[in-house]
Structure formats: C-alpha cells, structure tokens
C-alpha cells in the first residue's frame, strides 16, 4: 500500500522534502513507517524518541495501523511549551 508522509521543521530538512510517498507492507503501523524512513534517512534516528505522530490530520500513536492512502505526519517537538522557553519571553 502507499502512504503519504509529511515532515516538518528539522525532519523536513533531514530528508529534503516535506512530502514523500512510500510503499509499505499492508498492516504497517505509523511506527513501522517511521522505521522505514529511518532506514532510508539514517540521521532521522536521532529524532525517534522526540517525535509525535498524526494520521490523516489527527494525533495518533505509533501503534496506529495505517491504511492505503493514509497521510502520516511526523512532528518534531513544538516551538514553545517548556518552562525555560517561557521564562525567556
């Protein structure tokens, strides 16, 4: 099956693309799609523990099963929200 992968900020810079279409095995999860992407772009491995996942424009879990035509987005940490950032503003 084919899925569209959306990448943002740092992740987009690593791959050089904000949109990718990839073929992955039926029954793959969002986490499986990420691992396939890491295999293709090894520097992404550094981000495995910090990313969030969205499927079809809704927040999801790595265990979420994908279907043909799904859009899966991998999101680096958002730009605000930690104490240190807020104190500096």
């Amino acid at each position: 099956m084919h899925v569209t992968i959306r990448l943002f900020a740092r992740l987009r810079e690593v791959t050089g693309a904000s949109d990718l279409t990839r073929s992955i095995p039926d029954g793959s999860t969002a986490g499986d799609a990420w691992q396939a992407l890491v295999a293709e772009f090894p520097p992404l491995a550094d981000h495995t523990r910090s990313i969030s996942v969205a499927v079809n424009e809704e927040y999801a879990k790595p265990a979420t099963t994908l279907r043909d035509g799904d859009e899966v987005a991998f999101l680096p940490p958002v730009s605000g929200g930690c104490e240190a950032n807020e104190r500096s503003e």
Binding site: P76, V78, S79
Partner: protein
Amino acid sequence: MMVTSAPLDVAAVAAAVAGAHDGAVATFVGLVRDHNAGRRVLWLDYEAYAPLAVKTFEQIAAESALRWPDAPIAIHHRIGRIEVGETSVAIAAASPHRADAFAACRYAIERVKQIAPIWKQEHFEGGEVWIEGATADPADDEARTLAFARACT
C-alpha cells in the same frame, strides 16, 4: 481559527469573538523580539501543519469553554518569515465581565505553546536554529491542568 502567511489583524480577531452581551475583550499578541538566549535575532520562520493546527485551536477553544462557557476565543497564527516587531500570534477572548476574558485568553496562549503543531526557526547573526520545547500530548491532563493553573493566577 486561522493559520495564515498574511500579516495578522488583531482588531479582526477581537471582532470575531465580541458580541453585544460582552463587556470585555482580552487580547494577547505575540511578537517577534530582537533577542533570544543571548543572540541578536534577525527574523523568525514559522512552519505549521496547518490543518492539524486549526483542529488543535478548536480543541483549545472546547477545553476553554468547559471552564469559561461565556468566553469564546479566537486564535490566529501567522507562518512564514516574520520580522522583528511583527505579530506571530493573536488571540482574543470576549466575556460579559473582564475576569473570564483575561483567564480564557491566558489559557489559550499557554495551550497553543504546549500542543499546537507549529515550529519556529530563529535566524540570528551568525546562523539559524530550530527552537524546540517539550511536546505535550494534546490528551495529557497534566499539561492541561498546568495551563489552567497559569490562567487562574
């Protein structure tokens, strides 16, 4: 609720929430400042997953409405290159009395910072860096409680 590359109009955000029964509109305007972490900032580039960001803003409004049902909020966020002194985010909350408007507005910006899928790249003298904070799960009650606490102090 809006994510746009166009300059933000704070008066329009306020007008979007104010009705005849409201006696107060509180607004929050986030600006690009000229310094951060000891660096001289030249400009910021904001990037969003726009459809999810708008849905996140709707979720924040729904959360706010549980606590302040008479204080509707509107959130407009700009993306792309934003110069020092320009507005990156504008939030308005309206209510019959000022206390709820202030609280709902504060809550909204706290939650935007926690959960909105929006990233900023700081361009400073000598380089650029993605500014990242902790990602809060939108369903994380602890983060939501913290935002409520900040709104009510």
